[in-house]
């Protein structure tokens, strides 16, 4: 019974009003928009074979685009539109979260609605259509009084399919900044919190089934001409929509939104910052599981207020720099470049999450290897492993050039397995991540990069433009700056991967604060 008495169930439940409310809000809006577009379109093309075929074909193609990709595509599209709108009309809008999620999901809902509406209308007995004409109905009267009511059961089946699809796919809107039941799933997968994953899946499934059954009730009511059933189904849907207003009401206007990317360290750090902000009297909420490119734009646009990024990541991805500078120079230049976008680089947390060459401590000591410079002599007899992208990254080229490294073999590996492979001696050297907790767990050592071939990846706290002058906010986060050393972060990351009650980001963040706050 330990599985059911796990404290994380309670923690998951505490998030439910926010996640579920947002999930319903985005799903219902997307479905309503999808219906508002699909129904008139289906009616307009029903008797025209050419546009009908084109429309159904287009909707089918949309359906073949994976949900995650479709959602992700809408973000840059809207970002560009928002920039255009700001330039031309002086009115910008947020390309983050709700809007791209609603648009992508609405597009996703169209196929079943279009297909079933066209099929349903086409299935109306021609004799009945002629009778409608014969008794003196106009084409519109025939459509609304005869054809649509008779096609309704088939149309409802399509609407039910669309509803289930939209509710399921809405879980994928988390990475573009829309809070949903997917927050459980994304957070759970990243922090090995299977309770969260299970909870998120169950909640989404129950919601989909509930909406499906409510729509089925309405459908049965229409078919059997039972007003009671239509009413009951309608009230159920209305109650769901009303529930979506809860998070809006609950969110106080002064709330600080802390962002987090998609890996465990980020969840822990965002939880830590949120805890500090609450301790300072702010109301704070987290927006987790954001894509790496989404999160920076979201901060620049003010959709989130604060998050932790890494200097080397911004250097390469945001400013497209391939040159490598010493740590302080790079930070200083980054700071001025960010300031041009009114983004505040508040400071460094005190650790780096960079690529690094890693090997077992005992072996390194035995061979007398302290830094990468010592490695060159042994490389010819050693094997090396790295993640799927490392060997094509500029860091690797720089390393080879600076130290003249040439290994006997090079292998690509799933990051989770690399450390164990190095510990067991299956490979001699791996390109690991400096803040990974497994380095401590397997008693590995990070080799010193004395020639600074690898750019610095200092963890830095960034503030949104609108929070630049918020002294209370700065003061609340100041105790974290320079305080999180690499050993503490590794220990925290190891705990976060623990897979038990003490491994939730909140619990690990409290532990980390205990550890660093008391110094």
């Amino acid at each position: 019974m330990s599985f059911l008495s796990d404290p994380r169930w309670g923690e998951a439940l505490a998030h439910l009003p926010d996640y579920l409310g947002n999930h319903i809000r985005v799903s219902v809006t997307a479905l309503a928009l999808g219906l508002a577009i699909s129904l008139p379109l289906a009616i307009a093309v029903r008797n025209r074979p050419l546009p009908r075929g084109a429309l159904l074909g287009l909707a089918s193609i949309v359906q073949t685009v994976p949900g995650l990709a479709l959602l992700a595509l809408f973000y840059p599209l809207l970002l560009a539109l928002a920039a255009l709108s700001l330039a031309w009309f002086g009115v910008g809008f947020s390309a983050f979260g709700f809007l791209p999620a609603v648009l992508a999901l609405a597009l996703y809902s169209m196929l079943p609605v279009l297909r079933n509406t066209i099929t349903g209308l086409g299935g109306v007995d021609p004799a009945i259509r002629e009778a409608a004409q014969g008794v003196g109905m106009t084409p519109l009267q025939s459509l609304f009084q005869v054809e649509l009511p008779l096609a309704l059961p088939v149309m409802m089946a399509g609407i039910r399919t669309a509803a289930v699809w939209v509710i399921g796919t809405a879980t994928l809107s988390t990475p573009i900044g829309q809070t949903s039941l997917g927050n459980y799933i994304f957070a759970g997968l990243q922090t090995q919190n299977w309770v969260f994953v299970l909870f998120g899946c169950l909640a989404a499934a129950v919601l989909a089934l509930a909406v499906d059954q409510l729509l089925a009730l309405i459908e049965a009511g229409i078919r059997n001409r039972s007003r009671l059933r239509v009413l009951a189904g309608g009230v159920g849907i209305a109650a769901l929509v009303a529930a979506t207003l809860v998070p809006q009401v609950a969110r106080s206007p002064t709330s600080i939104i802390v962002g987090a990317k998609t890996f465990a360290e980020q969840y822990v750090l965002s939880a830590l910052m949120a805890q500090r902000l609450r301790a300072a009297g702010f109301s704070a909420s987290s927006r987790e599981g954001l894509g790496s490119n989404v999160i920076f734009e979201a901060l620049a646009a003010g959709d989130i207020d604060v998050y932790v990024d890494y200097s080397g990541t911004l250097w390469a991805n945001q400013f497209h720099r391939t040159d490598i500078k010493p740590r302080q120079e790079l930070l200083a230049e980054l700071k001025t470049r960010l300031a041009r976008q009114n983004i505040t680089l508040l400071g460094e947390l005190g650790f780096e999450n960079a690529y690094a060459l890693v090997m077992p401590r005992k072996r390194a000591e035995a061979l007398g290897i302290r830094g990468i410079a010592d490695l060159a002599a042994h490389a010819g007899t050693m094997s090396m492993a790295a993640d799927y992208e490392f060997f094509s990254r500029p860091e690797w080229a720089a390393l080879q050039k600076a130290y003249g490294l040439k290994f006997r073999t090079q292998r690509q590996m799933q990051p989770d397995f690399m450390y164990a492979a190095a510990a067991s001696g299956e490979v001699d050297i791996i390109a690991g991540y400096t803040s990974d907790g497994l380095i401590a767990k397997y008693d590995l050592v990070v080799l010193d990069d004395s020639r600074h071939a690898i750019p610095p990846y200092d963890a830095i706290v960034l503030l949104a433009p609108k929070r630049a002058r918020d002294e209370a906010l700065r003061a609340a986060l100041a105790p974290l700056l320079g305080r999180i050393d690499i050993a503490s972060m590794r220990a925290a990351n190891l705990r976060a991967a623990g897979g038990d009650g003490a491994s939730s980001p909140d619990a690990v963040a409290r532990w980390l604060w205990e550890k660093i706050g008391k110094r």
């Binding site: 004799a127 409608a132 004409q133 014969g134 008794v135 109905m137 106009t138 009511p149």
Partner: protein, 266 residues
Amino acid sequence: MQRSSLIAFAHVGKSFDGGRGAQPVRAVDDVSLEVAEGEFLAIVGGSGSGKTTLLRLANRLIDADHGTITVEGEDVRSVDPIQLRRRIGYVFQSGGLFPHFSVAGNIGITPKLIGTPQNEIAARVDELLDLVRLDRTLYRDRFPHELSGGQRQRVGVARALAAKPRIVLMDEPFGALDPLTRDALGDDYRELHRKLGLTTVMITHDMTEAILLADRIAVMRGGRLLAQGTPAQLSDSGDAYVGELLRTPRRQAERLNELLPRDGAA
């Protein structure tokens, strides 16, 4: 001597696309036919004879290619087809009732479209149910699928009469019914036709039915009008096909005379 004609077809033609490179089909070919006020005309012909097309041309469910059709003295091309259909009753093959409307909803549809007040429609529906001999309290709120074929067709007739038309068009109205129901319904309709002073055009493939119900019969074949007149006039027609059509009822009558005792006390 001649009563004014309420419906008149003059050299009317209508062709349909034969589909995929085939020759267009001449469904109605140069037909001229007049229906006098108060007359009951039956149009008889086999399938593909063009009889149903001719009927649909009268209330502009389809439009003619050639010729002129006048209804109540007006060229139908100059009238709004919706308004035209609302003032002509139309009885469809096997009812054509709206399955999602109750009996009352079906009967009251045309008055409702015209904008008749709800209470007047309700009264009219009850009156029509009486007229077609259906118990008002028992049938008013039923749905078409709860009715027998004969009852459905009675509702179909009531619906056609709801907006008090002068003209009723009927497309094989009794074709799908069992002989007893058919006989009863035919007689009942004939009585309504007389009592309400209607002008009726009925399509049928059954010459016996046509002879028993109609004042005058028009025979069509291959889109052309072969003959028209009273049953007596038709039997004088020299046309081979008309003769063939008349042979069946004649033979039936002879057989029945042979088989049934004259003064039929059972």
